[in-house]
Structures are given as structure tokens and as C-alpha cells.
């Protein structure tokens, strides 16, 4: 197994764990954590391909990861604001109970 394959396997497992958490847990914040883990798995892929790829001097992988981090920050801020707003309306952050369209 080459180093690149190890990296990709770690990232695939990280993605699978994040995905499993995001679809199986009830709590909205945990779903957000799962999404963050999936994003990190993707970032790890970018870095691994940049490191072992044919053109590391192009810096595309690093740039992608930096921008995705900034987006993850924005996503976390908006997502948590939504969780707090939902909690204020429904007094719950359990996703199974937040399924009707009428507020």
C-alpha cells in the first residue's frame, strides 16, 4: 500500500464515520459535527493528492483546503444560528421533532 492509499483510506473512513453520524443521530448539533467531519475528510484528500500528485508547486490542493475551511467556518456559524433559532421556536433541537413546515 502506498502512502497515498493510506491517506485516502483514512479519509474514506473519516468520511464514512461522519456520514454515519450525520444520518443516525437525532441531535441537530451532532449532524453539524458529522458534516464538519466529512468536510475534513475531503480536505485530507485534497492535501494527500497535492502532496503525492505530479504538480505540488501549483498549490491548488492547499488553496482548495484553505477556501473550504473558510466555508466550513461560515457553514458552522450559520448552522448553529439555525439550531439556536429552532430551539427558540420549538424548545427542542431534536431533528425527529422538527419535521413540520408550519412553525
Amino acid at each position: 500500500m502506498t502512502p497515498l492509499q493510506t491517506c485516502l483510506l483514512v479519509s474514506a473512513l473519516l468520511f464514512a464515520i461522519g456520514f454515519a453520524g450525520a444520518v443516525t443521530r437525532r441531535h441537530a448539533i451532532l449532524v453539524l459535527i458529522g458534516i464538519e467531519l466529512m468536510l475534513n475528510a475531503a480536505n485530507l484528500n485534497f492535501i494527500a493528492f497535492w502532496r503525492f500528485g505530479p504538480h505540488p508547486e501549483a498549490l491548488t490542493g492547499i488553496m482548495f483546503v484553505l477556501f473550504s475551511m473558510a466555508l466550513a467556518g461560515a457553514e458552522a456559524a450559520v448552522g448553529l444560528a439555525l439550531v439556536i433559532a429552532i430551539y427558540r421556536h420549538k424548545k427542542t433541537s431534536n431533528l425527529d421533532e422538527v419535521k413540520d413546515l408550519k412553525g
Partner: protein
């Protein structure tokens, strides 16, 4: 691939697994911080120093803090009595296992993956800065715009809106402290949840 890389990877995956499986949400958030630190260590071993430090700064320093704040604000600091899993959790586990199987099969059998290992590229902060200011200047500006919009949007969403939220406040104030066997002294128990 050094053994140190393997250890870091195992720590990262364990952190992620705990983050997704523990009952107490605060423990989940702390395990998530461990997973993020592990990812940062992996970046450092992949010669991406700047990204690794930025990962710690953004994820451990900001997002983990944001998440624990949200946990406390939604009063979910204690493990709930009922199940923490959704109704269709078995299907979810199955799908994610399937995803991992497919990805793993693809990784191990793909012919597109380069077999030889190149020496670690040297990237200075100056390189990254130059690239950000020349080739990637448009994405940088767009990211700036997106972050500003996200900032304003998050503030607007979380802001208390008018009379309705005032009524909510009253409701929160009137609500009696929980009579369920929550631990004394804990202000953020879930006891009062409907």
C-alpha cells in the same frame, strides 16, 4: 509511511468515532476537537504546515468553541434519557458502510493513483500569499463576501425577533426548574425539555 502517521490516523479516527457515538453532547464536541487536532497533525506530516496550523486555528480554536456554545445555549449539556439515534439508524449505518466499502475498493484498485512517492514539496508562506494574491484572487474575494454574508445572516437568524421572541423569553423565565433527577448545581440540564 511512518508509524507516527498510522498512530495519528488511528487517533483521528477514534476521535471521530467517539464524536459520533457518545451520548453526552459535550463529550462529542471534545472528541471532535481531538479528531480535528489529529487531522491537523496529518496535514503537518503531509508537509502542509500552513494548512495544519490553520486547521487548528479554525477548527479547534473557533468551530469547537462555537459548537460548545451552541450546546449550552440549547440546553443539551446532559445525556438525554431517550434514544439518541434516529428511527432509521440501521439503514444509515448500512449506507455509510456501503460508502466506505466502495471508496476503499476504489482506492485500493484504482489505476489512476500514482505509485511512486515524490519528495515532500517545500511551500513557504510567501508562496501561498503570492498565489492567493495572483492566481486565486477572485476566490479570495468571493470567500470574503461569503464570510461577511454568513456573519450577517447568522446574527440575523439568531437575533431575537420582536414581540414573539419576547413571549418566548417570558416562557423561558416562567418555566420552573426541572424536577427530574438532574445533578444539583447544573444550570444546563435537559430536564425542562418537552
Amino acid at each position: 509511511m511512518s508509524s507516527f502517521f498510522i498512530i495519528t490516523g488511528v487517533v483521528t479516527l477514534l476521535g471521530a468515532a467517539f464524536a459520533m457515538s457518545l451520548r453526552n453532547l459535550v463529550h462529542c464536541a471534545l472528541a471532535m476537537a481531538i479528531a480535528f487536532s489529529g487531522v491537523a497533525a496529518l496535514y503537518l506530516q503531509l508537509a502542509a504546515q500552513f494548512v495544519g496550523f490553520a486547521e487548528i486555528l479554525v477548527y479547534v480554536g473557533a468551530i469547537a468553541i462555537l459548537i460548545v456554545f451552541a450546546i449550552l445555549l440549547t440546553r443539551s449539556g446532559e445525556a438525554p434519557e431517550q434514544s439518541v439515534l434516529t428511527s432509521g439508524w440501521l439503514a444509515g449505518i448500512a449506507v455509510s458502510a456501503l460508502v466506505f466499502t466502495v471508496l476503499g475498493w476504489a482506492v485500493l484498485n484504482s489505476s489512476a493513483i500514482p505509485r511512486q512517492t515524490s519528495p515532500a514539496p517545500v511551500v513557504t508562506v510567501k508562496n501561498i500569499g503570492d498565489a492567493l494574491m495572483t492566481k486565486f484572487v477572485l476566490p479570495l474575494e468571493i470567500i470574503g463576501l461569503v464570510l461577511t454574508i454568513a456573519l450577517i445572516g447568522a446574527v440575523l437568524i439568531a437575533l431575537k425577533e420582536g414581540s414573539q421572541s419576547k413571549a418566548d423569553d417570558e416562557g423561558l423565565k416562567m418555566k420552573k426548574p426541572s424536577s427530574s433527577p438532574s445533578i444539583p448545581g447544573s444550570q444546563f440540564s435537559t430536564g425542562g425539555r418537552p
